[in-house]
């Protein structure tokens, strides 16, 4: 069946899973700092069969890595479905549209539209940040290309990219009161799914998702709750103190500190799995996005413990 007559926007596996009402489970893979294909393939093997789609980060934390579209293609070759991330920091509107078309032409079907970490964080801190358009405008641009078959400037394009359009949301960054309206703007711009920032403050997240439900936003886009298991007390403290927009309550740190020697990572995974159990039951949450940063090999174990296996075939 062609995507025109099946009611799907992209026909991506992730879209089908969500549309069928399954609780989605997505993973993440950071491309290598080099052209090491083996590293991508090795990481991908841990994710195969355990997640519905894999986010491929785009020069994350402003560090140069293999292009996200290129690593996405490697994933397709390995039989996984990528979620191609694109940040506004590194490309202008011409390059973005060109990459979107190229990505789609090579089989990429999901795309995540992001502002991008400021270049100051990365390995080229004095690079010129592009930010020709912002993440909300990027969502609108992809939607226009997909649904109207037009470039941003209005010219007709030959072969619209039928992409499932995603974006991020951070329920925890200031001002909290505004965050739900920012989500509303992303949905208005045309986003199909949202993956949130890593959630540790469950109370605040419950409040945010309640507002999203009350405003009818969860009816308009699928919300995937972001989960990152803590590997160590040091990581938890770093996330709390050093990562902007991250909200790590003291209880999480105390619980990790209370774990027996050598069992801190296990406790981190326990916390993550408890969260996932709650998300499964939480109104308005359509799935989980697991960001096991440089911990891809733990994903099968986490998926098992979180009882999200086997993944649905749709």
């Amino acid at each position: 069946m062609s995507i025109e007559d099946n009611g799907l926007k992209s026909g991506s596996h992730l879209e089908k899973v969500l549309k069928a009402g399954h609780f989605a489970f997505t993973g993440e893979l950071g491309p290598p700092r080099g052209s090491n294909v083996e590293e991508v393939i090795k990481k991908a093997q841990h994710l195969k069969g355990t997640v519905d789609a894999v986010n491929i980060t785009d020069n994350q934390t402003a560090m140069v890595r293999m292009a996200s579209w290129a690593a996405s293609l490697l994933l397709i070759q390995e039989g996984l479905e990528p979620n191609f991330q694109m940040v506004c920091r590194d490309r202008n509107r011409l390059a973005m549209q060109a990459d979107i078309l190229g990505a789609y032409a090579h089989g990429i079907r999901n795309m995540l539209c992001l502002s991008g970490d400021h270049q100051k964080f990365g390995d080229h801190p004095n690079a010129k940040g592009v930010f020709d358009i912002d993440s909300i405008q990027l969502i609108g641009m992809v939607k226009k290309m997909r649904d109207e078959g037009q470039f941003l400037a209005g010219g007709e394009l030959d072969g619209p990219p039928k992409l499932f359009i995603g974006a991020a949301a951070n329920p925890f960054a200031d001002p909290f009161e505004w965050r739900i309206y920012r989500l509303a703007k992303k949905i208005k711009a045309g986003v199909d799914f949202i993956q949130t920032q890593c959630i540790y403050n469950m109370e605040k997240f419950r409040e945010w998702i309640k507002r999203a439900n009350d405003m009818g936003l969860t009816e308009k886009a699928y919300i995937l709750a972001g989960v990152t298991p803590m590997k160590s007390v040091g990581m938890a403290k770093y996330m709390k103190n050093k990562v902007p927009g991250m909200d790590v309550p003291d209880e999480i740190i105390k619980r990790l500190q209370g774990a027996e020697k050598g069992r801190v990572a296990v406790e981190g995974i326990n916390i993550a799995c408890e969260q996932i159990e709650e998300f499964k039951e939480m109104k308005g949450v359509a799935g989980v996005h697991l960001m096991a940063i440089e911990w891809e090999h733990k994903v099968p174990e986490i998926a098992e413990q979180a009882k999200v296996l086997p993944r649905p075939s749709v």
Partner: protein, 226 residues
Amino acid sequence: MIVAKRKPFDEIKKMIEGHKKVLLAGCGTCVAVCLAGGEKEVDILNTELDMARRLDDNPIEIDTITVERQCDMEYLADFDDIVQEYEAVLSMACGVGVQFLAERFPGTPVYPAVNTTGMSANRAIGWYEERCRSCGRCVLALTGGICPVTMCAKGLYNGPCGGTNQGYCEISSDQPCAWFKIYERLATQDRLDSIMEITPVVDWEDQVPRTLIQPGYKKPETEDID
């Protein structure tokens, strides 16, 4: 006003190392107010260069002049009768002044002694904060009088991004988040509606050299009018 910062001394010294007779030109408006290139700064630089070159056993003759504005034809006329006496001009004006001077005297090398750093407000003596990038498409009406192009490190039109950190920007805990401030101000004024709508993609107007001709005026017929 336009603000500028004097270039490192060694860089200035190197620029003019091959010259024996130089005119050091100050500008009496913006760069004088921001303490970078007015009469006083011209005198200081003159003294420093003179001493350094003497120590190098390579003396230099420097005369100084400070005009009202180097970005104005009217004041540049003051240079007409004297420029030919010098091998080069070292200008302490902003980039506009340096270029205008260089354009008027195409046979004479004109060197910049300052780095122009923006359009800033005078927070206190010697303390200037950038507020405008002259994008040519002012959105301050929508954003509560806080410029997202200048004050947001990513120049976002639909912020704040996810990096807002307790009211500060992800780039530094000293830099307030522009969009946090915009939100707060509009909330205080009960005007949050103005940022509820999506601001569309910007048609950048600062990607080519811009010429401004005010209504009722026209470009002069000849280029050498002064």
